[in-house]
């Protein structure tokens, strides 16, 4: 089989829309284009029916009741709605939120905004493996805590948090529990009952659906979760999210959810094998590699590796026909190294040397082998050019160096 270049191995950033999902969406652009809220004619009824089918498909994926699914423009909006919606609705009860330092910016920046408005937020640290310590969580709870928000799977290192255990603690203390499950939904089994969650954020373009659509699971029983709307208007989505529904997008989200549910087990196993192969082959060729985050509690299709003594952006330049991403400062707009890798305590130099691989539905073994070979060559070349590698080979202890910086 001829392999197509460039190779895409950045499935955590986004995914191509599955052609089957595109097929499901197309009729809703020009044929069945009605507004799902048009209650008085067939155009509206058709659109509404398609939306309710999608609602059921999304609900099935996470073991929820369709009535508990609200459609949004994406997970960033879902995160905003969940966190701000709870903070506002339950402000009489308290103003404290517990989250984690490795959350996505959509959660962290929302929390920072609440802090600016007078709320209090605890950002739990993570251990070296990337997971929170449950004792830290218990210790952080106060009688003013209204929400715990911890992501199911991290987008950079793929590490899975102990969601069911967190849910149990939240239940015990009567505190609402939200999880940003963007990277987990459709990839690993997720059940709102087993996870004991009250709110779940999902994003279409992360599991082969279209961009611009997502969902928020909002529990209706034990307890019934109330949210203060963040977008006011016609009262759509049970008054929680106004705005004409993005019918084609929602149809796509539903179709993607149904496919994910059907193919998750086999796809997960296939990707895990490919990922483990990638890891093994890299280690066979190169020394001084460091895996960031727990391999045991990790998404099956993620690998995040630091290639010591080589900087990430120069690495990416060398493998310019492979699409991956790096935690290096040079690759970020802010010139800050990845805060997730920093939180692992690895040291900025390893953050600068990290590469994130996200495998996906169309990743082949041939692609993995090509990437391994390309990377091996580039890493070896850059290490020959690296003053750090030279010093280490001479026996210098880099940790004892006094560096001269500008």
């Amino acid at each position: 089989m001829t392999m197509k270049l460039p190779i895409y191995m950045d499935y955590h950033a986004t995914t191509p829309v599955d052609p089957r999902v595109v097929d499901a969406m197309l009729p809703y652009f020009t044929q069945h284009f009605g507004n799902a809220a048009s209650r008085n004619h067939a155009f509206g009824w058709e659109a509404e029916e398609a939306v309710e089918t999608a609602r059921r498909q999304v609900a099935d994926l996470i073991g929820a009741n369709p009535k508990e699914i609200i459609f949004t423009s994406g997970a960033t909006e879902s995160n905003n709605l969940a966190i701000k919606g709870v903070a506002e609705m339950y402000r009489e009860k308290g103003n404290h939120i517990i989250t984690c330092v490795t959350e996505h910016k959509a959660v962290i920046d929302t929390c920072k905004k609440l802090e600016k408005m007078g709320g209090r937020v605890t950002y739990l640290p993570v251990q070296k493996d990337g997971r929170i310590n449950l004792d830290d969580l218990r210790a952080a709870i106060t009688d003013k805590t209204v929400l715990i928000t911890i992501m199911t799977a991290n987008n950079e290192i793929g590490v899975l948090q102990p969601i069911a255990e967190i849910g149990a603690i939240a239940k015990e203390k009567g505190i609402l529990f939200h999880t940003d499950a963007v990277q987990a939904v459709g990839k690993v089994p997720f059940s709102v009952t087993e996870a004991k969650v009250d709110l779940v954020s999902m994003s279409g373009h992360k599991f082969y659906g279209p961009k611009g659509v997502g969902a928020l699971y909002v529990r209706r029983r034990n307890p019934r979760v109330l949210l203060a709307e963040q977008i006011s208007g016609g009262g759509h989505e049970r008054g929680m999210r106004s705005g004409t529904l993005n019918v084609p997008g929602i149809v796509g989200l539903g179709a993607a959810a149904a496919l994910a549910q059907a193919e998750m087990a086999t796809e997960g196993a296939r990707l895990r094998k490919l990922r483990d192969g990638l890891n093994k082959k890299l280690h066979a060729n190169l020394d001084e590699l460091y895996i960031n985050g727990s391999m045991e509690h990790r998404l099956p299709h993620n690998l995040n590796v630091s290639f010591a003594y080589v900087e990430g952006e120069s690495l990416l330049m060398g493998i310019n026909d492979v699409a991956v991403s790096s935690g290096s400062a040079c690759t970020s707009a802010s010139l800050e190294p990845s805060y997730v890798l920093k939180a692992l305590g690895a040291g900025d130099d390893l953050a600068h040397s990290s590469i994130r691989f996200g495998l996906g539905r169309w990743t082949t073994e041939e692609e993995v082998d090509y990437v391994v070979e390309k990377l091996t060559t580039v890493v070896r070349r850059l290490r020959e050019m690296s003053p750090l590698y030279e010093m280490v080979k001479e026996g210098v202890d880099l940790t004892k160096m006094q560096w001269v910086t500008h």
């Binding site: 190294p337 050019m385 160096m401 910086t405």
Partner: protein
């Protein structure tokens, strides 16, 4: 981010990668930057003591494509210059030559620092030979 052709050229075909003997009295070594910053440059010059001309220059860099290109370009420019001419090289010259975008200007600054550190090291070695006290200027390994 789109790299300029010159940056890509220096990255694919870096000039003067390598090391000169550090203990040679005519070799000046500059080591600037820090791993935590994602940029470390080692720049070395070999100076002809009679003419004061830089006969050879070598570099090794841990950093992005722009950092590698800046230090590679620096070694190209250094060869054949006198020590004083080398000190006149400005980071803005590097920015112009490589068409570095604003976010990468600091790479050229580090390259200029590396040149100055290498020259300073060479000069302090010459001073030591003549019995003049040395001045600190570049990274030191702790004993």
């Amino acid at each position: 981010m789109a790299y300029s052709n010159k940056v890509i050229d220096h990255y694919e075909n870096p000039r003067n990668v390598g090391s000169l003997p550090k203990d040679d009295s005519n070799v000046g070594t500059g080591l600037v930057g820090a791993p935590e910053c994602g940029d470390v440059m080692k720049l070395q010059v070999k100076v002809n003591p009679e003419t004061g001309v830089i006969d050879d220059a070598k570099f090794k860099t841990f950093g992005c494509g722009s950092a590698i290109a800046s230090s590679s370009l620096a070694t190209e420019w250094l060869k054949g210059k006198t020590v004083d001419q080398a000190l006149a090289i400005k980071n803005t010259d590097i920015v112009a030559e490589l068409s570095l975008p604003p976010v990468k200007i600091h790479c050229s600054v580090l390259a200029e620092d590396a040149i100055k550190a290498a020259i300073a090291d060479y000069k302090s070695k010459q001073d030591k030979e003549k019995g003049v006290p040395a001045t600190a200027g570049h990274a030191q390994p702790n004993a």
